[in-house]
Symmetry: C2
Subunit: 152 residues, 2 copies
DNA sequence: GCGTTGTCATTTCATTTGAAACGAAAGTCA
DNA sequence: TGACTTTCGTTTCAAATGAAATGACAACGC
């Protein structure tokens, strides 16, 4: 009697050891910490920050390109660009030959803004990584790279 | 002549090498991939999934506790719990002595649901990690742990 | 006891989000 | 050329989000 039912005792699920959850929590933390750098001081949101960062290295970029390149919804990019333009940080023009496309470009003020934020952002990253040795940092970089390169 | 201006040439900012961005992209990917497991098939959202996961290991839990424990806004927890209750997956009661508190608990159906989803979630995690060797997985785990343990 | 303060969960409300619809502009094919 | 399909960016609209207000209760001080 009392034969064990065929249920899997299924070792209890540990959310804290679950990769998607862990990475999500870490990402939130980092995003929030980074936001402190640019949100209050410069009135910039996260989507805006990403657009700035991408434009800083690539002039004359279309919304589509940022969308593909920067892992953001194209609506988000469009809105971020609109806000940045309203603030005078970005200039928007129509592509000379293909009139569907938009050419985004940092304005002088936008460049100045970014040059001010970027060192702070890098400092934040450095601080976040301060508990890791150089070897560990390299390892982390490589591992994240591998995960990002994975199929889906 | 042509003395270099004192401007920092400031090596161009590379978003793709920037930790907060990388981790954010990775987190989105993992969350989205995982969502495919429970969203369509079970009609569960991410906040709901997290509440289920936490309840699966801890009976009689308050909203506050989940909020603190699971890195989610307490409003989010409250709403996820409400939905889960409406679906019959969670039972909600008032704490016997402290009437401010809520006691959340998986119903039989909720337990069954979770027991069905959990293996799929773990399989997804396994697949996501399939490109890494056991050593690399351990290293990743440790590194994420260290970053999460960092001050802020 | 009774007023004050603090805590918990929910509700409210303004903002953010993204899927789908849209208009404009190319591209394609006959 | 002229219908068609496709692509790009924006707008629309409904859902998700979270800060602040609310209401219910508990804990403390006196």
């Amino acid at each position: 009697m009392s034969a064990k039912p065929p249920q899997k005792p299924s070792k209890p699920f540990d959310l804290d050891a679950f990769l998607p959850y862990r990475v999500s929590v870490l990402a939130s933390r980092l995003s929030q910490g980074l936001a402190k750098v640019y949100q209050d001081r410069f009135g910039i949101s996260n989507p805006e920050w990403r657009v700035l960062a991408h434009l800083s290295g690539n002039a004359k970029v279309s919304v589509r390109e940022i969308h593909a390149r920067v892992a953001m919804d194209k609506v988000k990019v469009s809105r971020a660009a609109a806000r940045l333009e309203a603030c005078g940080f970005v200039r928007k023009a129509t592509h000379p030959t293909d009139h569907r496309l938009v050419e985004l470009q940092l304005s002088t003020e936008g460049r100045a803004l970014f040059d001010e934020i970027a060192p702070l952002a890098l400092a934040y990253e450095k601080q976040a990584l301060s508990g890791l040795s150089p070897d560990e940092r390299r390892a982390l970089h490589t591992l994240v790279e591998m995960l990002l390169a994975a199929p889906t």
